[in-house]
């Protein structure tokens, strides 16, 4: 099911020619009707005019996505700057194309987006890769930093930290390691001091951020 939303009958007629192979319906008037149709129909794709009354993209897109999280949104608009189009994708749209797109190409867009693809212009693809690179480097830095922190722990402290990360209580840890609860608490005090954390929740976050499932201690 493809839902079309535009305040222009002419635009809708053009889009309809492109999606004639798919079950579709359209929405001419306001945002409230669009929202109720989204909830009622839960369409796979929403093709929406960037200038749809009341939309106020990109901020306004969040409301639509919350109403129907599985609906993939494609924005149709006049030519946008790279920055403006990028902000739409960051807000969660799955495609951006010209409002006056040829029906045949609109069909390609719908099919691609239905299959999980992103319909984004090539001039933005490098930006996407750059952001991915930044994210991966940040994640690696965090992982390295937490590894460095954990390297300061003794083997016993490491064991206890791992068990805290698994959600075990002091009593369970004591039983697991055949030591007293008092000893566990003493170790934890030292662990908290070395890692400069105040509680087991933060310790868990550090441990689980740093130690992969495949690693053995």
């Amino acid at each position: 099911m493809v839902l079309l939303a535009s305040s222009s009958e002419e635009t809708l007629a053009r889009w309809k020619r492109g999606v004639s192979d798919f079950p579709s319906t359209h929405c001419l008037t306001g945002l409230e009707l669009l929202k109720s149709e989204l909830v009622r129909l839960k369409p796979g794709i929403l093709l929406i005019d960037l200038d749809f009354p009341g939309l106020e993209a990109p901020a306004g897109l969040a409301d639509l996505m919350n109403l129907s999280p599985k609906t993939r949104i494609v924005i149709l608009s006049p030519a946008l700057s790279d920055e403006a189009e990028w902000s739409l994708f960051k807000a969660g749209v799955r495609g951006c194309c010209p409002r006056d797109i040829e029906p045949k190409q609109l069909k390609s867009v719908v099919m691609a987006v239905q299959q999980g693809e992103l319909w984004i212009r090539r001039t933005l693809t490098c930006r996407l890769l750059d952001e991915l690179g930044v994210i991966v480097r940040e994640k690696n830095q965090i992982k390295q930093a937490t590894s460095n922190l954990l390297a300061n722990l003794t083997q016993r402290e490491h064991e206890i930290a791992r068990l805290v990360g698994n959600g075990e209580s002091n009593k369970q840890i004591a039983q697991h390691l055949s030591i007293t609860e008092r000893t566990v608490k003493a170790h934890l005090t030292e662990i908290f001091r070395k890692l400069d954390v105040a509680d087991r929740l933060k310790l868990s976050l550090i441990v689980n951020g740093s130690i992969g499932a495949h690693e053995q201690m």
Binding site: K90, I120, C126, L129, G133, I135
Partner: protein, 176 residues
């Protein structure tokens, strides 16, 4: 207009031939040489001595720097960590050289994403390379990326997820 200079970084002669065959007759592309030659390079009739006293990554980067290709073609292997280390080094040391990867069916999408995050600007399957390689070279040369749309979708999901997590951490910090 100057042709796009392309170098191939693969020790496997079969893959090198595959790349060269795919680019044969392609307009606007000049294939330099195989950067990964283990017996030294021959560039303009000068034989460059193999350098054995440095690491493979340093050696490959040195070769790329000497050849200075605009696009470097390389196959993506199962040894993803080594490949990513190479890509990161190239990104830092030879930023003007853009890397396009060829991945066979054994390479998983997550590994391709890792390679793209490390600095590759394009990736195509061995199957599609015979039709699309020259087009990919030109697209990447002009500053765009050559990545399957489906993978772009996954990358955008990752970017949005991280931004959401970062925002949540900031809120948690503020609340504390």
């Amino acid at each position: 207009m100057q042709p796009v200079t392309v170098a191939i970084a693969d020790p496997d002669p079969g893959i090198q031939t595959e790349f060269e065959h795919s680019l044969q007759g392609a307009q606007g592309i000049k294939v330099l040489t195989n950067v990964a030659s283990s017996e030294g390079d021959v560039v303009n009739n000068r034989r460059l001595k193999p350098r054995t006293s440095i690491s493979p990554i340093e050696d490959a980067v040195a070769r790329v720097r000497r050849l200075n290709p605009r696009v470097l073609l390389a196959s993506l292997n199962q040894c993803i960590d080594a490949d990513c280390a190479m890509l990161e080094t190239l990104r830092r040391e030879c930023p003007e050289t853009l890397v396009v990867l060829l991945a066979d069916e054994t390479v998983r999408e997550e590994q391709v994403m890792q390679a793209l995050a490390s600095g590759a600007r394009g990736c195509l399957s061995r199957e599609s390379a015979q039709y699309d390689l020259s087009k990919a070279v030109h697209v990447v040369e002009r500053g765009e990326a050559w990545v399957p749309r489906r993978l772009l979708g996954k990358i955008m999901d990752e970017v949005r997820h991280w931004c959401h997590e970062s925002s949540a951490e900031v809120s948690l910090g503020s609340a504390c």
